[in-house]
Amino acid sequence: MVEGAQTNGNLIFWGMSAPLLVLIFQLLGLACFSCIVYARAAPLVRGQRDLRFDRPLLRLQNVLKFWLGQWKHPRYKVAGTLHLLIFAGFLILATRAFYLLLFGLADDFVAPSAIGRGYDIVADYAATIVFFAVSAAAVRRVVFKPARYAVPERYGKGHPLDAIFLLALIALLMLSESLFEASRAAIQAQQGLTAEFLPVLSLGWLLKEVVGSASAATLWRLHLGSYVVDVLTFYFLLCYRPFGIQFHVETSLFNVYFAKLDRGTVKPVRWGVSDEQLDQVKSFGVKTFEDFTWKHMLDFYSCADCGRCSDNCPANAVGRPLSPRFLSIKARDYAFQHYPMFGSSRNGQPLIGGIYSEDEVWSCTTCGACEEECPLLVEYIDKIVDLRRGMVDDGNVPKSIQKALKALESRGNPYGKMEKKRADWAKDKEFQQTCKVSVLDGDATTETLYFADSITSYDDRIQAIGRATARVLTAAGENFGILGAAEKDSGHEVRRFGEEMLFQALRDHNTEAIKASGVKRIVTSDPHAYNALKHDYKDLPPVEHISQVIAREVKSGKLKLNHAENGSNVYAYHDPCYLGRHNQVYDDPRDALDAIPGLKRVEMSRCRDRSFCCGGGGLMLFYEPQENERMGVKRVQMAAEAGANVIVTACPFCMVNIEDAIKVSGMEGKMTAIDLAELVDQHIVRKRPQAAEDESNALVHANA
């Protein structure tokens, strides 16, 4: 050994060898981390039940796709790419970090095997990439300041330094680790030993180039110093993570594994409590923090405050007092405050009027844009519904919605219209001449039920969609009927507005009526009814949306469509939330449109799973939100920007909202809205009546 050289093992501090001292420090670090995590788990233990232990294979698949595969990240290109690089780097470096921390100072720290050497090269580059990725991320935050990170005043003060501090710590970790290797390699080189290989242009290689010519003593100090910094940073980072957004490093894996699996559904009032037992449940919904389920609390811990949810939230976009991001962040801060590291917890305070306002909770249209975007699969709709359940249980419901709910209870529709008039839309004289719609009376020959639902049954404008749907079904040769007065509102929004027991009463009524009708399948033109019948109801015949029927029958040849009537029109299809995002029906309506020869169709920039909610359906039409402008107005602008002059919807509520928006934004004459069923109905090739047929034949003969 070269004179003056030292070994790690013979360093003695306070009577202990360096490796022993480091070991003790690391055990202390781990113990500290365990205590912190234990404290963080305190509210979860008090939270409500949440049954998330089923279907392990599907959950594993989610982990592979959304956690390991970072599936949602590239939806935001720059941030997503940076995150992908950092995440991949972390995974690669995890093994080395532990190896380094535990054995870095041991005398017998040996050069690894060939496989280990290969891994080392990869790890060196990984550290380099992570270093530059976090640097880029920091520059992005400090210099470019993407708008979605800003914290509006009403949501309290932001945590802007959290992210920067975290990035700096990661950079420091990468730097110290690489310097540790670089200085060791330099020492080895100076000592004439086989220096550890540092791959070209890796951070370690660069640092070795910088410090390689330093004196042996300096290198030794650098080597030891970088090790100490590395250990300190590592354990500081570990224990600091549970205090902010950085906690997602630990929680994300669990959050993704336990994520909600069933789209379009709403969580039960209490997991493990059947509908029949609900009468015994004292309090419904979420009133205090402890009413959230443990998984929903885990969501709060997992939120990385990336702002993608709110960036896509239509309520946030029009200035309603709702930002999904802050639903999470405020609840997380509440948990941190009320379940402190030291001292006892102070729980049980009401959330409404505390961290959340009433309007915040009513502002959500349950469109699902936030959940679609979240890389960590944080849930929002179920939390909103649970908060509403709590408010409904306390009698705390805006008057305009109370009226509609009361009417739903007594008349089965939110307008308070008479039950016996529910089938009046089909009694229009002109309509009856071309299309007869029968009210089902239980005779088993009718196979298909057209479930119209309330708005199609009673609203003057929307009744036309009902009639168009009936004509399309007739043209497709469907033997169908309606329930008429026996049909009540599907209750889709009743459930999502938190009035669970009223929903169940409506559901039970309709289920019985549908079963009594003896139909084999159900068709609806209302995506909200479609979602309710499909996901909220049980044991019904299969349900289809009219767009699915059209797409199928166009393919089968039963429906033939004429050339586009107006060749100069440019159409944009607007995805209804409950057809698209919640049920993944994106292609059938587009296929149906494209089956009209010569129809010009464009896509809005926000389409398919990024579709922008029109303003919300069902009871949302009765809510008077605080907002700067209507969602529908924004949507109409988006269609105009895409170069369209006709918006095609496939949902009665979209029609109401978008037609209103066209009026209030002064776009009348420049933009129109039409329902898919109406448009298809206009273009169906129908067999002409015999007389007309004869007439045209005669004409042909005469011309010949």
Binding site: L278, D279, F284, V392, D393, D394, G395, N396, V397, K399, Q402, K403, L405, K406, A407, E409, S410, R411, G416, K417, M418, E419, K420, E499, E500, M501, L502, Q504, A505
Partner: protein, 263 residues
């Protein structure tokens, strides 16, 4: 504080298409849905809010038949402590004074510090509150739109005066108030509460239980009898605007401008 709220079940005007019956002396009652009279609902909410601050119990009573019990259960679901149905064959056809007499009978069975009624029933004549106060010889304030308990024995109440003014009055307890709509925001009564209230006991009291002389109530005692019921013919100066919503709105604006209502 023990509070009695007198409530009544009426056809819900927002959820019915009110039509005359063939005889022309009443509305067609076949396909009607009923609910608690709106002003009475405000009275119950006010009672609940007073009790929440001052302590005590809220009892809701209605004069009617078995069918009217549903509104009592709704108010029990809302938070009232007791619901009482005052029902007797002899009560049928009572006029305002008859109803007040029956309610007086019940009020005297208990010890109520405060009795609230709605300002008027949607199908009624705003008589019962005042008559009940007179029969009981209690102070009475009508059209009340704010209530404040002063000490243990007095109330400070605000009354709505025509033209949007407000008057403040002080009354000694016990007293009767008729409550104006808009005094508060009645809480929502959910299906869950209504279902749970189905199992609660709602006692029924007849004339004998209340010590009411059957000769003083019901059709026999009614001095006001309904003679006719009809939809008035649109007179001069009244115009029903027709057409689409837009056309109606346009015409309305035109008219308002023409009459100087809009500048």
């Amino acid at each position: 504080m023990e509070i009695l709220v007198c409530a009544r079940r009426v056809p819900d005007t927002s959820e019915n298409e009110i039509q005359l019956n063939d005889a022309g002396n009443d509305i067609e009652r076949d396909d009607l849905v009923y609910s608690i009279n709106e002003a009475d609902n405000y009275a119950v909410e006010e009672a609940l809010q007073i009790v929440a601050k001052a302590g005590g119990n809220v009892t809701v009573a209605t004069v009617g038949t078995d069918e009217d019990e549903e509104i009592l259960r709704r108010e029990l679901a809302m938070g009232a402590n007791h619901g009482v149905l005052l029902s007797d064959d002899a009560f049928g056809g009572s006029d305002g004074k008859g109803i007040a007499t029956i309610l007086k009978g019940f009020a005297q069975k208990g010890k109520y510090d405060l009795i609230l009624t709605g300002v008027q029933a949607e199908d009624g004549g705003a008589q019962v509150g005042g008559m009940l106060a007179a029969l009981l010889d209690y102070p009475f304030a009508s059209l009340v739109n704010s209530v404040e308990v002063v000490g243990g024995s007095k109330l400070k109440v605000g009354r709505e005066i025509e033209g949007g003014n407000k008057e403040m009055n002080e009354l000694d307890l016990p007293c009767v108030l008729s409550i104006q709509t808009g005094i508060n925001e009645p809480r929502y009564v959910g299906m869950k509460g209504i279902r749970q209230a189905q199992s609660l006991e709602v006692p029924t009291y007849g004339a004998a239980d209340l010590g009411v002389d059957t000769g003083s109530v019901g059709e026999v005692a009614a001095k006001v009898k309904r003679d006719d019921y009809f939809v008035p013919v649109a007179g001069k100066g009244a115009e029903i605007l027709q057409g689409s919503h837009e056309e109606i709105a346009d015409r309305l604006i035109e008219l308002m401008k023409a009459k100087g209502g809009l500048q």
